[in-house]
């Protein structure tokens, strides 16, 4: 990490300036606060303050039926409710030993990859906003996101708070024109990405701003248990879809892009490349999706009467490669219809812990984009 010492000479006193960035600051992506000590505009100390959006998610979950927490998981990372559902469903299915029909698995993968597109597109837009672009990239991102949200609304009934997954499958089958529309999206999305990249990737201002800024070394990233695109940008080839073989990801051919420098530009570009890989997965999934049930018999029964869902005592940890990193749910059952312990391993929160190390020695605008490149959603950080 960059060492920084105040210029201290006899007869030459400098003063540090303490600034509280947030919680109402426009670029903290929600109610997040950074207490920053500045020397000029250089950051010498940074203390993140969290908890403004704490909603007692874990304790609430311990006081309601297993399925009752499902709509609440939507509200963790409200950009990608589908993947949150996915991770929670996986954890509980592991706990209760529920099988998932193949069609449901495919639907889940389609939804997860669509969510990845939503999240990465939006993140890049907001990162550019943090960089000072006047809303143009973010609005292009919104324009494309709307198309995917329309698809979500089509099948799940809600654009953001999908609440679509059930233990043992998904809530409802795809509508007849869902798959054609996904195919159309797969056709059009690379074109949008090309345009987006023409606008951004080679822009010298963006490159000058992001390269060599907020470097996260490999070793530090691993020891701080960073996951997701951030870890891969630092050069660690770790993708839970490849490592954990969950769901049916083994059937799909896709590559995992790896960064080299671990700076903000790498984190930006890795996400662009990941979107292209996601489109590949979607393409395969849409072609290969089998017909059949979308929820197992047991699962459907419990979806109708969540109170009767009483997994036998035990514990399970289900994890997925969420767009932001490893999203895991740890559930302990004591045999009743409420979980005994419920814990969320939130990627936003754990990736955020490394913020100070990346920011020291950089300027205020760099801190803003470093925070933006971590990709946090305060709903998930504070829970």
């Amino acid at each position: 990490m960059m060492e920084h010492t105040l210029i201290s000479k006899p007869d030459f006193d400098t003063q540090t300036l303490e600034v509280s960035l947030g919680p109402q600051h426009p670029s903290t992506h929600g109610v997040f606060r950074m207490n920053v000590v500045l020397d000029g505009e250089t950051i010498v100390k940074l203390k993140p303050v969290m908890g403004y959006l704490h909603r007692n998610h874990e304790k609430l979950a311990e006081n309601m039926s297993y399925l009752g927490s499902m709509p609440y998981t939507d509200r963790l990372d409200y950009i990608c409710s589908m993947t949150n559902n996915f991770a929670y469903a996986l954890a509980v299915e592991k706990l209760a030993g529920i099988e998932v029909p193949e069609r449901a698995q495919y639907i889940r993968i389609i939804m997860a990859e669509l969510t990845r597109l939503v999240n990465h597109t939006l993140l890049i837009g907001f990162l550019l906003n943090d960089l000072g672009a006047f809303f143009t990239p973010v609005l292009y991102a919104f324009r494309e996101r709307e198309k995917i949200l329309d698809l979500f609304e089509e099948v799940a009934g809600s654009r953001m708070m999908c609440n679509y997954f059930r233990f043992g499958g998904v809530k409802a089958d795809l509508t007849p024109d869902f798959l054609p529309r996904v195919k159309e999206l797969i056709q059009n999305y690379p074109r949008f990405l090309d345009e987006f990249e023409a606008l951004l990737s080679e822009n010298e201002i963006l490159m000058a701003r992001t390269q060599k800024v907020g470097v996260l070394p490999k070793e530090l990233a691993v020891s701080a248990s960073i996951t997701g695109p951030m870890l891969r940008a630092s050069g660690v080839p770790y993708d839970i879809r490849k490592v954990d073989h969950y769901s049916l990801y083994d059937r799909f051919k896709f590559r995992v892009p790896i960064g080299e420098h671990g700076d903000v530009y790498d984190r930006y570009y890795i996400r662009v490349l990941e979107m292209r890989e996601s489109i590949k997965i979607l393409d395969q999934a849409v072609k290969e999706i089998p017909s059949g049930d979308v929820i197992s018999k047991v699962g459907a029964g419990f979806a109708k009467a969540p109170r009767n869902f009483k997994p036998k005592a035990g514990e399970a940890y289900g994890r997925i490669e969420a767009p932001k990193g490893e999203l895991g749910f740890f559930v302990v059952s004591d045999g009743t219809n409420k979980p005994y312990r419920y814990h969320v391993r939130a990627p936003s929160f754990i990736n955020l812990t490394i913020l100070e190390d990346m920011c020291l020695g950089h300027k205020v605008p760099d801190a803003i984009i470093i925070l933006g490149s971590i990709d946090i959603v305060l709903g998930e950080v504070d829970r």
Binding site: L67, M70, V155, N163, E202, E204, K304
Partner: protein, 217 residues
């Protein structure tokens, strides 16, 4: 060459500027109050209660399942009583606090009587924060036709199922009545409660798993 990326970016924005005047996929905005998007059939907002013929007879039997399963606990149900204080199979109060409801749709899924559904209505702004958003039964009740209008696919399926069930029930009731008659004739003891208690105990039984595949589709 330095500067090409900047020019490329400007070309992209210029293209967007020009094309926003004549290409629909560039300018996707729908000018809302005048124009509206077609509503998706599965769209869900806040729940409403359904009645078959007249609002005094809602389908809801006040079994309290939705209130218990509701994750944010926004439903309050008090069962109606007749003059003797005997509980009736309909709600006296059925309040849904729309300010608490998070439109997750759990109530709709768990209801064994297909009495509560998610509405498409979303222009619900009110001046009061508490009273105005606490929807009482008279504001919640909507006719069967409304449901048929907003979600035709689900509605036809559910109606068909209900009809089937009713027919089966009728047949069963007839059978039971016949049996009862036979029994009464035979033993002349009380036999009238049998069909009465049945639906009340039903929800807690795992009787539902029988129809999920149909539900899922």
């Amino acid at each position: 060459m330095f500067g090409i990326g900047v020019l490329k970016g400007m070309a992209v924005t210029f293209k967007n500027f020009v094309e926003s005047y004549y290409k629909k996929e560039r300018l996707t905005t729908i000018e809302y109050p005048e124009k509206r998007l077609a509503e998706k059939e599965r769209f869900r907002n806040f729940p409403f209660l359904i009645f078959d013929e007249k609002p005094e007879d809602p389908r809801c039997v006040a079994c309290d399942i939705c209130a218990k399963e509701c994750p944010p606990q926004c439903i309050t149900i008090v069962r109606a009583q007749d003059a003797q204080g005997k509980p009736l199979k309909k709600p006296a109060t059925f309040d849904i606090d729309y300010s608490i409801c998070m439109n997750c749709g759990v109530c709709e899924e768990v209801c064994p009587f297909d009495a509560i559904f998610m509405d498409h209505e979303f222009e619900l702004a009110e001046y009061g924060r508490f009273e105005d958003l606490n929807y009482t039964i008279d504001r919640l009740l909507k006719p069967k036709e409304h449901f048929m209008k907003i979600r035709p696919t689900d509605a036809t399926r559910i109606e068909a199922e209900l009809k089937k069930k009713e027919n089966a029930k009728k047949a069963a009731a007839e059978k039971a009545a016949a049996a009862a008659k036979a029994k009464a004739e035979a033993a002349k003891t009380q036999a009238s409660q049998v069909p009465d208690t049945k639906p009340e105990t039903k929800p807690n039984e795992p009787a539902q798993p029988a129809d999920p595949p149909a539900e899922a589709k």
